[in-house]
């Protein structure tokens, strides 16, 4: 593994498969009565959140704590204009406190790149979502969830539906799923595709109904209501009619096809409640898997080369071996 996880595109197939395999070990831990490993004891993980995010921050916090790392949470609300302490000064402060890894969520695309490359910090940087750029651990947890239901992703057809233009989840998934051999189709109204999407190596479609019957997994993206005021689409109702996943559309899916959503959902907008709560829906499982995948990422970035979960009972509790 590299030192940082900034983009899903940085991962080779071997890297990605190592994360998924490690995550599987971590995931098995969730079924044990004691869910904690000593692997990162004495290491410090800082969660640096410059943008509201309850679930991602909690997920990283749980992941770091289950690896016995010390966790410092830093949350600074604020937009680009209401400048509080700068990213640089925050990074310097946390660096001075001895952070080993910094998990950063930021409203500015590229902020984790700055953190990793501007010389402000020597920690490992994990991108936990930057602006409208990327969210690589989300893509990893999505891929992990898919492999648990679909097996090897080689040749599998994945549909990602919604606001591709503003979605960091779509960008990271498009990169990672292709690395893993899947065929990705992005579905959106033309206004919500970025310019140049045809160079991403993915299929694109404006027609959800044409894509659904072939998909092995359907990932619905959150569509923020404020996009409506910017004329990306005429109305919420029209969006739902053309791009929402409802019971009728769910009927067109193959039996094994799973339905995913990175959350938080807007029920009734991009997905109806009956679909979200259906047996096909793996949305809650995605959250559980998120912790395992983030444990794997933190473990591997912070130098874990040996198996994180000891198989031999004599080694159990032998912290030094795993540190």
């Amino acid at each position: 593994m590299k030192k940082h996880l900034l983009s899903a595109g940085d991962l080779t197939r071997d890297d990605a498969e190592l994360v998924l395999a490690t995550a599987a070990e971590m995931r098995a831990l969730a079924d044990r009565p004691i869910k904690k490993l000593p692997a990162l004891r004495g290491r410090t993980v800082v969660n640096m959140f410059f943008e509201d995010s309850t679930r991602t921050r909690m997920s990283f916090e749980a992941a770091a704590k289950r690896l016995s790392a010390d966790v410092i949470n830093f949350a600074a609300k604020g937009s680009s204009l209401s400048k509080g302490e700068s990213l640089k000064d925050t990074a310097l402060t946390l660096e001075a406190m001895g952070a080993d890894a910094v998990v950063v969520r930021h409203w500015a695309s590229g902020a984790p790149h700055n953190l990793a490359n501007a010389g402000w910090s020597t920690s490992s940087v994990v991108n936990a979502g930057d602006g409208t750029h990327e969210h690589p651990t989300q893509a990893l947890l999505d891929a992990f969830t898919m492999t648990r239901h679909l097996g090897d992703l080689d040749g599998r057809r994945i549909a990602i539906v919604g606001d591709v233009l503003h979605s960091r989840v779509a960008r990271s998934n498009a990169l990672l799923l292709q690395t893993l051999g899947a065929e990705v189709t992005l579905v959106a109204p033309p206004t919500l595709f970025p310019l140049g999407v045809e160079t991403w190596g993915v299929q694109t479609s404006y027609d959800l109904d044409a894509v659904l019957p072939k998909a092995d997994a359907v990932m619905m993206l959150r569509v923020q209501r404020e996009r409506m005021n910017a004329s990306y689409f005429p109305s919420v109702r029209e969006y739902s009619r053309r791009y929402g996943l409802d019971a009728r559309r769910m009927g067109a899916l193959q039996d094994h096809t799973i339905v995913m959503h990175p959350g938080p959902m807007i029920r009734g907008m991009e997905i109806t409640a009956d679909v979200a709560d259906s047996e096909r829906s793996v949305i809650v499982e995605q959250v559980t898997n998120g912790v395992a995948v983030r444990m794997a990422v933190l473990y591997l970035l912070l130098g874990g080369s040996e198996p994180a979960v000891s198989t031999s009972s004599t080694n159990e509790g032998d912290e030094e071996n795993n540190a």
């Binding site: 695309s109 590229g110 902020a111 490359n117 409208t132 310019l195 140049g196």
Partner: protein, 433 residues
């Protein structure tokens, strides 16, 4: 009184000849000029062997930041940078604080330039009050002031209202002014961060589409033709803009255009670093755009090179891309970049460089004593330039108060050896005189 004999300089890259400066004028040009013994002790002789002599460069687009942002640049430091870059005149953009939208502010800037003495400063007046795009500033008062403003621009902001733009173009005819438009359709560029294209989509940075520039340029060309006035297009950056200006010129309309050094050399690929040193407005474009801008500059569609020298303090660039300021330094590297991209590639001769960087910008700005040929009797505004050396750009060595050069660490050809402003050296041996 200063007297300088420049030995064996190559005027516009031609045959070596001597140039004698006296009394603020070019007194004599010829081979093996001899100095009378009586005045010999007062004459400083400079060996200009191998150096090219160019008329003092004129920048139509400089941000000197004073008044208001003296932490980024002052008239004094900015004009030092100008002199080191071979400039003898710069036009100081109006987006200061307070905005240069009254006779009082333009006179202040003009006077600060005279006191600094490194190069002549010609203030640009704002087109609209406070650059707000709502109401014309008192253009006539600025034109009639001691600063004699002829170039008007809301640079940084676009005069987007078509009626206001039409009125401005009409109004400046009364004093032979020109409206220099920062062509950026505001609605198409809300929160725009970089060129809109394949890369902006990947990087998740909001795009600044070429059409936002081209649509305004097309509209303004039509307006200028309609009212029979002069339009100058600031820092055009796209292939489409070059085509539109070429078309407007083919109609015989009074339209001039400028390109910046960075749009001749750098491309949007640099944004992939997320290093805001490359954040500029208009943004760095594609390699195809760079080629088109070079071709436009070569065939005269683009009349001039202007620096858009835009100093920013360190903290405004040492941050997230989205939080960073737009703009990059330009004065101290402009001539080297023009050499690298246009002269060394065979697209322009040194005589063409004199046209694009001295004569034409002076004509557009209606300057009388700048942009003059190197000939006997003309004002002694002269640059000696060594095209044979290469140098590595060091941000820390710049005279500008700011350090936001995108060329740091880059090897560039050429070096300004000396600059003379009305016969007085502002730069000698590559250093401020």
């Amino acid at each position: 009184m200063s007297r300088y004999l420049l030995k064996k300089a190559r005027i516009l890259g031609g045959e070596a000849t001597d140039i004698y400066l006296e009394d603020g004028r070019i007194f004599a040009i010829g081979s093996d000029l001899a100095v009378a013994d009586a005045i010999a002790p007062e004459v400083e002789v400079i060996d200009a062997t191998g150096l090219i002599a160019l008329p003092g460069l004129v920048d139509l687009h400089t941000h000197l930041r004073e008044p208001g942002r003296e932490d980024a640049e002052t008239v004094d430091t900015g004009t030092q940078a100008a002199a080191l870059g071979g400039f003898t005149a710069v036009h100081a953009m109006a987006n200061t604080d307070p905005v240069a939208d009254t006779a009082g502010v333009v006179e202040q800037v003009w006077r600060l330039g005279r006191e600094a003495g490194h190069c002549d400063v010609f203030p640009v007046g704002a087109v609209t009050v406070g650059l707000k795009g709502e109401q014309l500033a008192e253009l006539g008062a600025m034109a009639d002031s001691a600063a004699r403003v002829r170039v008007f621009s809301d640079d940084g902001k676009c005069v987007a209202d078509p009626v206001l733009m039409r009125r401005a173009l009409e109004y400046v005819k009364a004093f032979d002014g020109v409206v220099a438009q920062h062509a950026q359709e505001p609605r198409l560029t809300e929160d725009a961060q970089m060129n809109e294209g394949e890369l902006s989509g990947r990087l998740g940075l909001r795009g600044w589409p070429a059409v936002a520039e081209e649509a305004i340029i097309a509209r303004d060309c039509l307006l200028a033709a309609h009212v029979g006035s002069r339009l100058h297009v600031c820092h055009l950056s796209t292939a489409g803009s070059v085509e539109i200006v070429r078309w407007a010129k083919s109609k015989g309309w009074n339209v001039t255009a400028e390109a910046c050094p960075h749009h001749l050399l750098l491309t949007d690929e640099l944004a992939a670093t997320y290093d805001p040193i490359y954040k500029v407005n208009p943004p760095l474009r594609t390699a195809a755009d760079v080629e088109a801008v070079r071709a436009g500059l070569a065939d005269g569609t683009i009349d001039i090179v202007a620096t858009d020298h835009a100093p920013h303090p360190h903290e405004d660039k040492d941050c997230e891309w989205q939080a960073a300021a737009f703009g990059m330094l330009g004065l101290e590297t402009a001539l080297s970049i023009v050499q690298a991209t246009m002269v060394d590639t065979g697209a322009l001769t040194w005589a063409d460089v004199a046209e694009r960087m001295s004569y034409a910008p002076a004509r557009i700005g209606r300057l009388e004593d700048h942009g003059r040929p190197l000939a006997e009797g003309e004002p002694a505004n002269v640059v000696l330039y060594d095209p044979a050396v290469t140098r590595t750009v060091e941000a820390s060595e710049m005279a500008s108060l700011s350090r936001n050069t995108p060329y740091a660490g880059m090897e560039l050809p050429g070096r300004v050896v000396a600059t003379f402003l009305r016969g007085r050296p502002t730069v000698l041996d590559g250093k401020l005189a």
